[in-house]
């Protein structure tokens, strides 16, 4: 009798049975039944179970299979021992030195990138835990070394690596015909970057049978990479039955300064906006100064203007915003005799926020850094412009921004921050108003300070001692920890990094 058969009998119970099947050779080792005992059968089953259980326990499970070729030798060195001792707890996501999980992931990603730049690999004993961090696979992959690649292949072979489903190659032309909507869009964006004409031709070929949502996505992708050759296609888009497509087409055309669409919108802007002069008062006459004033005439759209996106259902303010947003900022001097930045500072009979918003949008569409800097210098607080700003203009915006908006402003500054920006933000944090700054600014600061400055700022924050208030205390402690660990990694790996790499080291990136 096998153990399984015995277990089946035990599951049902011996109460309904008069005998047990023989247990074979083991019977010689088992005691005979006690006829006088009413539960003799149960005890006999337990005796057999004991004997068969010992036999079963003495036969550990085997793992049959063919031998696997061992891993090749690793040509790259391990990082210094202190780097390994820091990487271990971070890879295991132990709270360790850094309290917040998102901070740990960020610092780890940055450290792994440094290890890769130093031409090093993870030590073998950390490979298991590193491969378990699928959220960091992008950063772990370059430092796996030969052993890690071998281990990954083993995991994938056993179906134990959840990250085995590789994303489809956006360059694969098959995707356009057979992929999902997301995959088709990925291919289209990739194709636009490589060969915009062919990509547009592909879009044209499927345009009519594509649903509105997909056409909207395609037009949006065209707007991101629009060229003069796309003008005719986009003009047709203004007549599309889907509003999303029409909005996308107008957006695309307004990014082409020489397009007919921009010319039409510029002409309308000239009708609606003018710069005049006020009758000077006595003081101005004495100073021989004139007062320039902004004059806005509500624009009444005709059929062509409706087609261009200035519909009658829009409020006059919204219509003005759209109109101004379609005029490249560099065009304003020729239209009204004033620059875009001057327009927002001219005397106005009432605040024209819609004008400021429209000029900001046009500045972004045309990636006009000059106008962006001038707008900020003129006092415009438009955080969308941050990516276009010079360091000086960014510093001006940081100085102007209320503490509650500081995080939003800094969100647009590329990381690592320029040294001057890091210094300005750091000084705000350690200044008297530091407790008013929102917590995310502490986090951004700790992560975005250039690596070469991290140690110095960690030292400075440590010197602050214990601030008043639990929240500020936590923010200070977290920021100090992140800066300290970043600096430790940097100090240890700096001798192995090329100087240019050290200066320009990028952080972990988006996780």
């Amino acid at each position: 009798m096998t153990f399984d058969a015995l277990a089946s009998i035990a599951a049902v119970g011996t109460g309904q049975r008069s005998s047990l099947p023989p247990v074979g050779a083991l019977a010689a080792y088992l005691p005979g039944p006690d006829e006088a005992d009413p539960q003799a059968l149960a005890y006999a089953l337990l005796d057999s179970a004991a004997a068969l259980a010992v036999v079963r326990r003495g036969t550990p499970a085997a793992a049959p299979g063919e031998p696997v070729p061992p891993a090749p030798d690793d040509p790259f060195p391990e990082p210094p021992v202190h780097v390994i001792s820091l990487l271990g707890p971070l890879l295991a996501d132990d709270a360790g030195a850094i309290r917040l999980a998102s901070d740990r992931a960020y610092v780890l990603a940055e450290a792994l990138r440094l290890v890769a730049q130093a031409g090093m690999r993870l030590p073998h004993r950390l490979l298991g835990v590193a491969l378990a961090r699928r959220d960091l696979r992008l950063f772990v992959q370059p430092v796996l070394g030969a052993r890690g690649e071998w281990l990954l292949a083993q995991l994938q072979g056993a179906g134990l690596d959840g990250a085995t489903t590789a994303a489809a190659d956006p360059g694969d032309p098959e995707l356009w015909d057979t992929g999902t909507s997301e995959e088709r869009l990925a291919w289209f964006r990739h194709a636009r970057a490589v060969d915009p004409e062919s990509a547009r031709a592909a879009a044209v070929a499927v345009w009519k049978e594509s649903p509105a949502a997909f056409r909207t996505e395609l037009m949006s992708a065209i707007a991101e990479s629009v060229t003069p050759a796309d003008e005719a296609f986009c003009e047709q888009g203004l007549d599309d039955r889907a509003e999303g497509v029409r909005v996308g087409a107008a957006d695309a055309l307004s990014r082409l300064p020489d397009s007919a669409y921009v010319a039409r919108m510029a002409a309308r802007a000239q009708e609606a906006i003018a710069v005049g002069e006020l009758e000077p008062g006595a003081v101005h006459r004495l100073l021989k100064r004139t007062i320039r004033t902004l004059q806005v005439t509500p624009y009444e759209p005709d059929e062509t203007a409706v087609r261009d996106g200035l519909g009658r259902k829009l409020s006059s303010k919204e219509r003005l915003t759209r109109l101004v947003a379609a005029v490249p900022p560099a065009m304003w001097p020729s239209l009204v005799g004033a620059t875009a930045a001057e327009l927002v500072t001219l005397h106005q009979d009432e605040p024209r926020w819609e004008l400021v918003g429209g000029i900001g949008t046009a500045t972004l569409r045309n990636a006009d850094a000059t106008t962006a800097n001038l707008l900020v210098a003129a006092g415009v607080m438009d955080v969308r412009l941050v990516p276009l700003l010079s360091t000086a203009a960014t510093l001006a915006l940081i100085a102007q921004a209320p503490t509650t908006l500081l995080g939003t402003v800094l969100d647009g500054v590329a990381t690592p921050w320029p040294q001057e920006v890091a210094t300005a933000v750091g000084q705000q944090l350690v200044g008297t108003n530091g407790h008013q700054v929102r917590p995310e600014v502490w986090t951004m600061f700790a992560r975005s300070v250039p690596l070469r400055l991290a140690g110095g700022w960690a030292q400075r924050l440590r010197g602050l001692g214990q601030p008043d208030g639990r929240t500020v205390g936590n923010m200070l402690r977290d920021a100090t920890s992140v800066l300290t660990v970043r600096a430790l990694f940097a100090d240890e790996l700096r001798p192995f990094l090329p100087e240019t790499s050290w200066q320009d080291t990028q952080p972990g990136g988006q996780l």
Binding site: F3, A7, S8, A10, A11, V12, G13, G15, P31, Q39, A42, Y43, L45, L46, D47, S48, A49, A50, A51, L52, A53, V54, R56, R57, G58, P60, A61, A62, A63, P64, G65, P67, V68, P69, A71, H82, S85, P89, A95, G96, R99, H124, R125, L126, L127, G128, L131, A132, R147, W150, L151, Q154, L155, A158, G465, Q466, R477, S481, T484, V485
Partner: protein
Amino acid sequence: MADRWRPERVTALAPDSASDVAGRRLAIPTPWSDVGYAYPLLWGACQGSGSTPYSVAIDVSEPSYRCSCPSHKFPCKHVLALLYLWAEGRIDEGGTLSRFAAQWSATRHAAGEEKPANDAPAERTEAQLAASAARAEQREERVTGGLAELDRWLADQVTAGLAHTRPGAMGDLAARMVDAQVPGVAGRLRDLNRRPIGSRTGARAGGAWLDDTLAEYGLLHLLSRAWTRTDLPDGLRATVRNHIGFTVAKETVLASPPVADTWAVVGMRDSDEEQVSTRRVWLYGTTTGRYALVLFFSSRGMPLDASLVPGSGVTADLHFYPGGPALRALVGDTHDVHQRVRFEVAASAVSEAIARWRRALAEDPWLGSYPTAIRGSARLVPSPGLADEAGDSVRLAGGATLPLLALTGGNPASVFGELEPRGFLPTAVLTDDGLVVL
């Protein structure tokens, strides 16, 4: 001067994982000041939430420690953090001895000098001896009664059918076994009670639960019957008493002949049972080739003995408990401690290891696992296993398969671990750099 500790030893000292995490979090230079080290003293001041930093002093030779923080954990996170910093080489020799550390050290020395010698057990009177014998007899009677109840209960279960097992029934019986002073049986029943009961319908209902339960019932029945036998050899009788839960006095074990060797620590496993934490440490005699199991116990939340750290070694006399196979031991006189120990091991093929495990089971059918070293190549495909040159294999169990593969790269290696019914649980591997704990 003693070697600097390795971080694993600090981890082993933590009273619980929360303290360890908190200690690691503080193991950065940020909050620390006035740190220094002059063997055996390590000291520092840690800025906490208050205005005054906490003072920490540690004697790494024992270890013993003192912190001015109010934590009830022992050691506290500040002690652990300072030890981590030191173990990672971030605190160099030198520094000005803090007032706190100097005072603590002086107080300890004074206390040590005044402490009366208390090693020799006090001589017992005849009345005490008689009372002790009466207690022992009373316990044996209780155990006899308890095991008889156990055996009846097992028969009732099998008669009615295991498909009708009432959830929690084993827990109730375990409590009665505690009353009957049969803690070993109570522990096995509690383990069984924790396993989830599978579906109890169908021809082969319950799956693994049914198989495990029946096997355990059979072994408990065997234990109960063995207790009633008066003709057992001394070794087997001692084994039966061990599994029932009779303890053997330390002095009795230490009076047995010692086995001297340099013992490598090849595995360690901690577990919590009710209010008691248990640490199981496997040792390998680098000269004798013997294995030993040293157990440490503590109340939950209190630190477990951290003198035997995986990867380290100790030249010491071991005294084995009675019963077979002789595995459980006490560490007697310690002659030397090694941060790392280099040795060769005659690792077995899979078939030899299994044959040894079977011999051990023949001596002790209730044995949970058996230590061994197997020479083989780890692989993951088609299933996790360790295969030797002859092509024989054993399934790899536990959570150390991936680290083992990472460390060996599929090359043959001598792997220490525990052989048990599920397969082989690797605990350490011998590499070119020495023993690496998994």
